[in-house]
């Protein structure tokens, strides 16, 4: 949950819901993934008679969506001078917010919604202007266990990695790599006895909030693992566990 800064508290008048005709035009914005709304924010089905026009959220400095940034700053204006503003983040109640703008920090990994309403004096509030964006700053997860027999001279077998997309949007995986880390037995040197081949294919997508194996995604060639057949005795590696380190990078589509 985000934390409000520069917030001055004040009473918020209860808007009287009424159906009105269009109150005029306004300037606004939208983002490719983020959404903004003039006149369709939750909590109000319309502005009361005499309410200020819907405020406009400034486009400068808006958080992208998705974004790694856990902070957000909003500015807003209204066509009617001398109005005050009330703001809300996600499900929080509307509270007074400075006309100079408001900042939030410590935002969690989620889709957030910022709403601002204009108010003249203690009169009714306007229709809210809304901006929705997604914070995604945690890493995605790569996992996988190599289950094929691993013995000296064993053929290279595929390692079908699983990719978990924790985000609420489709993730485009740009790279995946497998590194040999260590073995569980002293004397069985991982770099001397084992080899991996890397995934060298094109970028691929993983649906939102899902876990898919490379095989399920039709991604080839899969990374492969094998054990070398050395002229020296490799008995020390019998039963040894081999640890892999996975890494990758992704971006939004």
């Amino acid at each position: 949950m985000g934390r409000l800064t520069n917030l001055s508290f004040g009473a918020r008048a209860v808007a009287v819901v009424a159906t009105v005709a269009a109150a005029g035009s306004a300037t606004g914005f939208s983002l490719a993934a983020a959404t903004s709304s003039n006149g369709s924010g939750s909590g109000n089905s319309g502005a009361a008679a005499g309410a200020p026009s819907q405020p406009v959220i400034g486009s400068s400095g808006l958080p992208a969506s998705p974004t790694n940034d856990t902070t957000a700053k909003f500015s807003y204006t209204d066509s009617r001078p001398q109005v005050s503003f009330v703001c809300s983040l996600d499900t929080a109640a509307f509270t007074s917010c400075p006309s100079s703008g408001i900042s939030y920090s410590g935002l969690g990994n989620a889709t957030h919604s910022f709403r601002v309403e204009a108010q003249s004096g203690k009169g009714p509030t306007s229709t809210p202007a809304t901006y929705t964006w997604t914070v995604a700053n945690q890493p995605f997860t790569i996992s996988g266990t190599f289950t094929a027999p691993l013995a000296p001279g064993s053929p290279a077998e595929p390692l079908d990695l699983s990719i978990t997309n924790p985000y609420s949007f489709t993730m485009k995986v740009m790279s995946v790599s497998v590194a040999l880390d260590s073995t569980s037995k002293a004397g069985c040197v991982v770099g001397d006895n084992y080899r991996v081949s890397q995934y060298t294919g094109a970028a691929f997508t993983v649906p939102a909030n899902s876990t898919k194996t490379l095989g399920q995604l039709g991604v080839t060639p899969l990374p492969k693992v094998w054990m070398l057949d050395l002229p020296t005795n490799q008995d020390v590696c019998q039963g040894a566990g081999v640890k892999f380190i996975y890494s990758g990078s992704a971006q939004n589509q």
Binding site: S25, S30, L31, P149, P152, Q238, V242, F244, A250
Partner: protein, 189 residues
């Protein structure tokens, strides 16, 4: 723990469409460029010794192990008693025993008794037939053989593979102690 990095923002301003009766006015657009790192760990387990058996298919005749005859290839296949698929790496053959005929033992001594003295000097500096009379060479084509769990690899031209080669050395000394001798071969991988 990996972390998110290199976030870049690019804004692209466009022109929206005002809809009659609505409050939507000029709209803009922007593209967000977001990156994330992925991480994780995994594991594999190296197999332990399993009761894989190499079965020798080639039986060498007495005419194949005589001085001056080229090396003979020993073919074989596998039996896998393990519950998992197993592989055979490079095979190393060796001679674990040389058994002379009774007549040769009487004449040249028993290779199983190194102190069997009083016999004429045999080949390779011994009084009897020994492993020194033979040369074994590991196979170069083994190492990628696979057998499923609890299965015997069928004997066929495609499954059989070389376990190595053996040749009887043509030494300058008397090698008569090796006439009719039996060799016990073993293979390890």
């Amino acid at each position: 723990m990996s972390k998110i990095k290199n976030m870049k923002l690019r804004y692209k301003i466009g022109v929206g469409v005002a809809t009659a009766g609505a409050l939507a006015g000029v709209a803009g657009g922007a593209f967000a460029y977001w990156t994330a790192a992925g991480s994780g760990t995994g594991s594999a387990t190296t197999g332990s010794s399993s009761p894989m058996t190499l079965i020798q298919d080639t039986t060498l005749s007495s005419t194949q192990l005589v001085p001056g005859v080229a090396a003979q290839t020993i073919m074989g296949h596998q039996y896998n008693a393990a519950g998992t698929t197993e592989y055979v790496g490079a095979v190393t053959p060796s001679i674990t025993a040389v058994t002379e005929t009774p007549a040769a033992i009487a004449l040249w001594g028993d290779p199983n008794y190194a102190t069997d003295a009083g016999k004429p000097q045999g080949s390779a500096g011994t009084y009897y037939c020994s492993t020194a009379d033979y040369t074994l060479v590991p196979s170069s084509d083994a190492g990628d053989e696979t057998v499923g769990p609890n299965a015997t690899q069928a004997t066929s031209s495609s499954n059989d593979f070389s376990l190595g080669t053996i040749v009887f050395k043509d030494l300058s000394g008397n090698q008569d102690a090796c006439k009719g001798a039996s060799l016990t071969l073993s293979f390890s991988s």
